[in-house]
Symmetry: C2
Subunit: 212 residues, 2 copies
C-alpha cells in the first residue's frame, strides 16, 4: 500500500487517479510545448513516467490530451481581470506596473511555449485561438480600455483601439524576443520598452488634456 507522505494515510483511489492525471499532463506539457502537436505519444508517456496505455485510459486520444493541456494552461495564465488596487492607481504607476507584469511573462517558458503552440496550431485547431482570445486577450484588453476610458486624465478618443495598440506592442515584443530568438539577434531591454511606452502614453495624455 502507498502512503501519502504528510498525513500517513493510505491514498484513496480518487487521489491516485488525480496524481496519474497530473503526471500525464506534466509529460504532455513538456512534449507539446517543445515539439508542438507533432510531439509523440511514447515520449509523452515516458516524460510523464507512466505507461502509454495509462495515457489512453485517462484521455481518449492525442487530440483530447492536447486540448485538456491547453485548457489547463490557459486557465493558469488567465488574466484575472486586473487587481482593484492596480485599477485605482494614477496613470504613471498603472502603466508602469501593467507593462512590467506583462513583460514578466517572457521569463516563463511555459507561457512562451503556449503562445507559440497556439499560433502554430490555430489553423488545425481553431478553438485554440478562440479560447485564447476569450480567456487571455479579451479580459486584458477590456480592463485596459476600461481604465483608459474612466480615468479623467486620459482623454483619448478611442480607448478600445488604444488598449489594443498597447497590448499588441507588449505581446509582439515577447513574440519577437522569445519565440523568434530576437533576444539574440535584435536584443532590446524591457526597461527601454517600458520607458518608451510610458513616455509615449503619458506625453500623449498630457497633450490630449490640454487640447480639450
Amino acid at each position: 500500500m502507498q502512503y501519502d507522505c504528510i498525513t500517513m494515510q493510505s491514498i484513496t483511489s480518487e487521489q491516485r487517479q488525480n496524481k496519474q492525471r497530473e503526471k500525464i499532463l506534466a509529460g504532455a506539457m513538456r512534449a507539446f510545448l517543445t515539439y508542438g502537436y507533432a510531439a509523440n505519444m511514447d515520449t509523452i508517456a515516458q516524460e510523464g513516467g507512466v505507461a502509454k496505455q495509462t495515457v489512453y485510459t485517462y484521455f481518449k486520444d492525442k487530440e483530447s490530451l492536447f486540448s485538456a493541456l491547453i485548457d489547463r494552461l490557459l486557465d493558469r495564465f488567465v488574466t484575472a481581470g486586473m487587481g482593484a488596487e492596480l485599477m485605482a492607481q494614477e496613470p504613471p504607476v498603472f502603466f508602469r506596473v501593467l507593462t512590467q507584469i506583462a513583460l514578466q511573462r517572457m521569463d516563463d517558458p511555459e507561457y512562451v511555449g503556449l503562445i507559440r503552440v497556439i499560433i502554430a496550431e490555430s489553423a488545425r485547431f481553431p478553438e485554440l485561438s478562440e479560447t485564447y482570445l476569450n480567456r487571455l486577450v479579451r479580459p486584458g484588453v477590456d480592463s485596459l480600455a476600461y481604465y483608459i476610458r474612466e480615468n479623467p486624465n486620459l482623454r483619448f478618443s478611442d480607448p478600445e483601439a488604444l488598449a489594443r495598440i498597447i497590448h499588441g506592442a507588449l505581446v509582439n515584443f515577447m513574440i519577437s524576443q522569445e519565440i523568434l530568438n530576437g533576444k539574440f539577434m535584435m536584443p532590446m531591454s524591457r526597461e527601454r520598452i517600458t520607458a518608451s511606452l510610458l513616455e509615449l502614453i503619458l506625453f500623449a495624455a498630457e497633450q490630449a488634456k490640454q487640447a480639450r
Copy 2:
C-alpha cells in the same frame, strides 16, 4: 515541339526548367502555407501539377524545398528600406502612410501564411526566424527609428525602442486579427487602429517638443 506563345520561338531547356521550378514552388506554397511543414509531398506535387519524382529532381528533399520557398517569399516581402519620398514626409503623413502600408499586408493570404509558418516552425528551423528578423523586421524598424531620430519634430528619448513599439503594435494587430481569427471574435477596423496610433504618436510628439 512546344512554342512560347509570344516570341514563337522554341522553348529552351533552361526556360522549361525554370517553368517546372515555378510550378513546384507554387504547389509548395499552397500546401506549406495551409498545412505548415506537415504538408505532404504528394499533395505538393499534385498542387503543382507535376510528378512527385520531378519535385525530387529539382529539390533534394522536403527541407530544401521548404527553405527555398520561404526564402523566395521573404524576398518578395522584403522591406525595401522605405521610399525616399515617404521618409521626406512630415510626421502626420509619414505615420498615416506607414500604418496603411503595414496593415495592407493583412489582405495578402500569402503574407499572413508566411508569418504563421515562421512563428510555428521557428523552433524546428531557427534559421527561419533569423532570416525573417534580418530581412523583414530589422530594415523596417531601423528605417522607422532613423526617421524618428532625424525628424526635429519628434523629440523622443529612445527612437529605437519607440520604433519597436509601433512596429509591434501593427504586427500584433495582424496576428490577432488574421492568424488568431480575431476578425470574427474581436473585430476592430484598421481605421480605428490607424487613427488611435496617429493620435498617440502625434500628441506625444507635440508634448515632447514643448517639454524641452
